[in-house]
């Protein structure tokens, strides 16, 4: 334990409104804490800069999964375990269910939240690739009201987000319009469980006969933030997966990925490895479309 806990404050206002009021009154002073699976690690190693924390862990207003005709709305305080146990998500958003299942361990899934995973804004985070591919939107709330932005516009840079100091992430909304799409997700981590991604790719494709009518790809650890790979999508849209064309399509996809990916060398892997393995995962997906 490398922090002196007596130097930290933590309060738990009873309602969401009270939390928002406090954030608005002293913008930037308080850091929200939900499941604590990131911030408590920072505390343990002596690197938690924020001295005043505001608990949102207990706010029932943030912990829900609501399904309507077009979308599934997930409260930011929903845990990975909640997501794994939800039948609607398992059916409609299998990529999100998979990514929740391999986030940390069971104990961490019981505490960690979807909102926390997004706001912590690690480029290696597990759920963003699926959410990016699904075209999620995020609803941000403050005392001034709410605003909804496409999730693709949320991550601005390394650990930088569109969240203002007085705002909280409230809801993640994911369209349920992927019936009939080919869906594929794969994480390459340091081991089979309790692992941080070296890279991960979430892929969705809609075929029109043997033509890729639409394709959406989200990636982890290929850039300074979770990445929606619009370049690869543009390169592949309209291409054919017919036997005679497949190799050219695969080449086009790999080339586009090599161009778009800007992975780094770090303690877990190398940029070269990440690039090529992500390309292999993309190729694996493209070839699977033929089957």
């Amino acid at each position: 334990m490398r922090s002196d806990v007596t130097q930290y404050e933590l309060t738990a206002p009873t309602t969401l409104a009270a939390v928002l009021a406090q954030l608005a009154a002293e913008p930037g002073k308080h850091t929200p804490i939900a499941g604590g699976t990131e911030l408590m690690v920072a505390l343990g190693v002596g690197r938690l800069a924020a001295k005043s924390l505001l608990s949102i862990n207990h706010l029932k207003e943030l912990r829900f999964i609501r399904v309507d005709d077009d979308a599934i709305h997930i409260g930011a305080g929903t845990t990975f375990t909640d997501i794994r146990r939800n039948a609607d998500i398992a059916r409609d958003l299998p990529l999100l269910a998979s990514s929740a299942s391999w986030t940390g361990s069971v104990a961490n899934q019981n505490r960690g939240t979807l909102g926390g995973n997004i706001c912590n804004a690690s480029p290696a985070a597990d759920t963003p690739p699926a959410l990016l591919a699904y075209g999620a939107t995020v609803t941000l709330i403050s005392t001034n009201g709410t605003r909804t932005v496409p999730y693709t516009e949320f991550h601005l840079g390394y650990k930088r987000t569109a969240l203002r100091p007085d705002e909280l992430l409230h809801t993640i909304t994911v369209p349920r319009t992927f019936a009939g799409w080919k869906q594929h997700i794969r994480k390459v981590g340091t081991r089979n469980a309790q692992a941080i991604s070296k890279t991960a790719l979430a892929c969705l494709a809609k075929l029109d006969g043997e033509t890729i009518a639409e394709i959406r790809i989200g990636a982890a650890s290929l850039a300074d933030r979770p990445l929606r790979c619009t370049g690869i999508e543009a390169a592949l849209t309209g291409l054919s997966i017919a036997k005679a064309d497949l190799e050219a399509t695969v080449r086009a996809g790999r080339a586009a990925l090599a161009f778009e990916a800007k992975p780094i060398d770090d303690i877990r892997s190398t940029g070269r490895y990440r690039s090529i393995v992500a390309a292999n995962l993309l190729e694996e997906f493209l070839r699977s479309l033929v089957l």
């Binding site: 190693v45 469980a193 941080i196 090529i276 393995v277 995962l281």
Partner: protein
């Protein structure tokens, strides 16, 4: 009267198991003493240099703290292991990152955090050497700036070391000149000469309980230090006693050491407790309170010992039909910044380097090099896994060149009963590596898989393969080590009291840290005395009470200490027969009845025995020849792997471990030992890498030092052969370290079988496989076309086949 069921080979409940599953077992961090303070270590932030200044910030009231500097040390500023080159606290100069410079103590842990941040140390940095190669290069180029270690008479290293080299050995399979001549002839006449270089990385022990101790210092009425008491998590309490006698200049009986429940060790708590134990005792001396030091994970990983990295070079001469004619082997270890245990680790590496084969002529040259890395130390296997990785990878390479299967090459060259090893040791006790190989390959389904995978791999993106490694592991201390240790074991019979029937107490310094010491030694005593397992218990390990039965290392507890317990038990029976009319055939009732008769006339009943070799064991340290170990365990391990060509991740998908261990004392514990060792071996082979930067471990967290989880390991099938040995109780030999030896080479051999590409270094991570495939020009794998006469890895050409 029916014979009671044998306790040897039964699986009675682990002695301390109940306390462990209840969470009632008390480890060092669970213990508080009245008035106890907490200690912390201020460490170097650079790898090598002079300490220019140490500044204490004014913001802190330093009078609240105890601070220990080198000048406070009452005895020598040395942590003694084999020699005296390792300072207790760096005095003016640091030789590795995280080297202890100052110690501080305070009643509050949080106050230590503030104080550490308020101490500023400035250095004049000097260049360091961080690999075996850099250390060698400094010597070869005469770069005095980078000579970071010199032999020193005062330290006791003058006879054995040289610049940047702690120790070297030369092992010949016979008289030196004759062997050199034989080698020259062998290489001249060889049909094949095969060369190879193999390397292994550092490995963190990663016991789940970090290092920790609590020390007390007692003074007489004049304020003079009277005695010390240190309790903690450790393997070898008498090692710490020895260290304390030097640091405090006190006699042994004033330095009391108590081992408390220890949460894993694997060698990592063999030599290191001498450091942290001395530190806590110094703080206790300074502040007048008991002082606890418990490292956190990051400090433990960055600051304490690892397995020695190694490089092994082989040059082998073979006949046309694949018989080994001769070999030259060079082993180099990276010892880190101080000598610590490197000479003995190197010795075990040297003796295991030739593997389980017949060598008409052989020379091993070995050396332990100094680098500016925290000293490497003991870790399960102790040099053998490194050397055996070399020979067992090399044998697969040799097989390829010679045109034999790995199986056939080994079958032709295995040692057999009655053979003489390269050190001149005759293998009297029976073993049969060929029969073992047949058995384990069948258990694994090896031949069926070889054929099936070859077919499936043509189209599958997952390439599967099988491979194996054959090896031996010497149990007990090397050479004359056991004679020098002169270990002692005491048995004591406790009289019945009101609440407690009479029991037998085993007094040893052999510690329990998960392997089952308490249980197996109780089994041996109970079995030999003919009493029940519950009639026997082990005395708490307290050097004020227990004799020195030697350190708990080197696979020696079951075999060497177990034999001492067996002999002490026999001696106790003899005493009771002589003085208390114990009948020749006795049982539990007659035994305790006899003890009652004995107590009617005597106050106490105890027997003591000391080590005696059970067969002639002679070792010549100068010539490096003789009986290298009292006994060897023999093993063949088979691995099945899957290599994913999309991610370059190799996974071990099934493992079979067959070993001949003399006698299995406790099947459940023995299986657990083998499985746990295999798991560590799998980690060593394909998961666990220490990332170094200027001598500092950068991934000193469990989140980025990757040990296998339950989701990463295959089914591990454990098989035993039992040929009782005279050296151990009931015939048992040591098994503790053995399972660490096989997984590395077996898995890499399997990866070559799967991919057609041969790898020579562990750990082998996906990034390494990826880089190698890329360099071979086939991103998606494929097969490496091997030209038998060219080694594409070292670009060394084998001579033309001369027929």
């Amino acid at each position: 009267m029916p014979e009671p069921p044998s306790l040897i080979g039964a699986s009675p409940l682990r002695k301390e198991g109940r306390a462990k599953v209840l969470g009632a077992a008390r480890y060092i961090d669970d213990i508080e003493l009245p008035g106890m303070w907490h200690g912390a270590t201020v460490r170097s932030t650079i790898a090598r240099g002079r300490i220019r200044s140490i500044t204490f910030s004014d913001e802190i009231d330093w009078s609240e703290y105890a601070i220990v500097r080198p000048s406070d040390i009452p005895g020598e500023n040395v942590i003694v292991h084999l020699i005296k080159d390792h300072p207790c606290l760096a005095d003016g100069f640091v030789n590795h990152p995280e080297e202890p410079i100052l110690l501080i103590a305070h009643p509050s842990k949080a106050a230590l955090l503030r104080a550490k941040a308020a101490i500023r140390i400035e250095y004049d940095p000097l260049p360091g050497v961080f690999t075996i190669e850099e250390s060698e290069a400094a010597v070869e180029s005469g770069d005095a700036e980078r000579i970071m270690w010199e032999p020193n008479e005062a330290a006791g290293s003058a006879t054995f070391g040289s610049a940047n080299c702690f120790r070297q050995y030369q092992l010949y399979s016979g008289e030196a000149k004759e062997t050199e001549a034989g080698l020259a002839k062998a290489f001249e006449e060889a049909a094949f000469i095969v060369e190879g270089e193999y390397s292994t990385g550092a490995q963190e022990q990663l016991y789940i309980e970090n290092n920790g101790v609590i020390a007390e210092c007692f003074r007489d009425e004049h304020g003079n230090i009277e005695s010390l008491c240190v309790q903690g998590s450790m393997q070898c309490p008498y090692y710490l006693v020895h260290a304390l006698t030097v640091v405090f200049n006190l006699p042994e009986d004033k330095c009391r050491v108590i081992q408390v429940e220890t949460g894993g060790a694997f060698g990592g708590k063999e030599d290191f407790p001498s450091v942290i134990g001395s530190h806590a005792a110094l703080l206790a001396m300074k502040c007048g309170h008991p002082v606890k030091i418990v490292y956190d994970r990051a400090e433990d990983m960055a600051g304490t010992t690892k397995r020695h990295p190694s490089r092994t070079r082989h040059r082998t001469a073979l006949s046309k039909d694949g018989m080994l004619l001769g070999a030259e082997i060079e082993v180099a270890l990276d010892g880190g910044a101080y000598t610590t245990l490197s000479p003995t680790v190197l010795s075990r590496a040297t003796l295991h380097a030739p593997g389980p084969y017949r060598w008409p002529f052989l020379r091993v040259r070995s050396k332990a090099m100094a680098t500016n890395i925290p000293p490497h130390g003991a870790f399960r296997g102790f040099g053998a896994p490194q050397a055996l990785f070399g020979i067992e990878r090399h044998m697969d390479r040799v097989a390829k060149v010679v045109g034999l299967t790995p199986e056939e090459l080994r079958r032709r060259n295995f040692l057999r009963t009655g053979d003489v090893t390269v050190t001149g040791q005759k293998l009297h006790e029976a073993f049969d590596m060929n029969a073992m190989l047949t058995r384990v390959l069948k258990e694994h389904g090896y031949h069926e898989k070889l054929a099936r995978f070859a077919e499936e791999n043509k189209t599958s993106p997952i390439k599967r393969g099988v491979g194996f490694a054959a090896f031996l592991h010497g149990a007990g201390f090397t050479g004359s080590g056991e004679r020098r240790l002169n270990s002692e074991v005491v048995l004591r019979v406790d009289k019945a009291t009101a609440g407690q029937p009479a029991r037998v107490c085993v007094l040893v310094s052999s510690t329990e840290f998960g392997q089952g010491t308490n249980t197996i030694l109780s089994q041996v005593a109970a079995h030999t005395l003919g009493i029940a397992y519950d009639d026997v218990y082990l005395a708490k390990i307290d050097t004020a009470v227990v004799p020195n039965s030697g350190p708990t290392v080197a696979s020696r507890t079951a075999m060497i200490v177990g034999k001492l317990v067996e002999r002490a038990s026999l001696k106790l029976l003899e005493t009771l027969r002589t003085y208390s009319a114990l009948p020749e055939t006795c049982d539990r009732d007659t035994f305790f009845a006899a003890t009652e008769r004995y107590f009617a006339e005597h106050e106490t009943l105890r027997t003591s025995v000391r080590y005696e070799p059970q067969a002639p064991v002679f070792w010549d340290d100068q010539l490096y020849r003789g009986e290298a170990y009292p006994g060897f365990a023999w093993a063949i391990y088979v691995a099945e792997v899957a290599v994913d060509m999309n991610t370059y991740q190799a996974t071990c998908t099934r493992f079979d471990a067959l070993q001949e261990v003399g006698r299995v004392l406790h099947p459940v514990l023995a299986k657990g030992q083998i499985e746990g060792g295999v798991a560590q071996g799998i980690g060593y082979a394909i998961y666990e890498r220490c990332e170094w930067k200027e001598g500092r471990m950068m991934n000193n967290q469990m989140t980025n030092y990757i040990m296998p989880t339950s989701a990463d390991l295959p089914e591990i099938h454990v098989h035993f052969e039992e040929v009782p040995s005279v050296h151990g109780p009931g015939g048992a030999k040591g098994i503790g370290e053995l399972p660490m030896d096989g997984p590395g080479p077996a898995i890499l051999n399997a990866i070559e079988n799967a991919t057609g590409v041969s790898f020579h270094s562990i750990p082998l991570l996906p990034e390494d496989i990826f880089e190698r495939f890329t360099s071979l020009g086939h991103l998606h794998g494929g097969s490496e076309d091997i030209d038998a006469t060219v080694d594409r890895d070292t670009e060394v050409e084998a001579p033309e086949v001369t027929v």
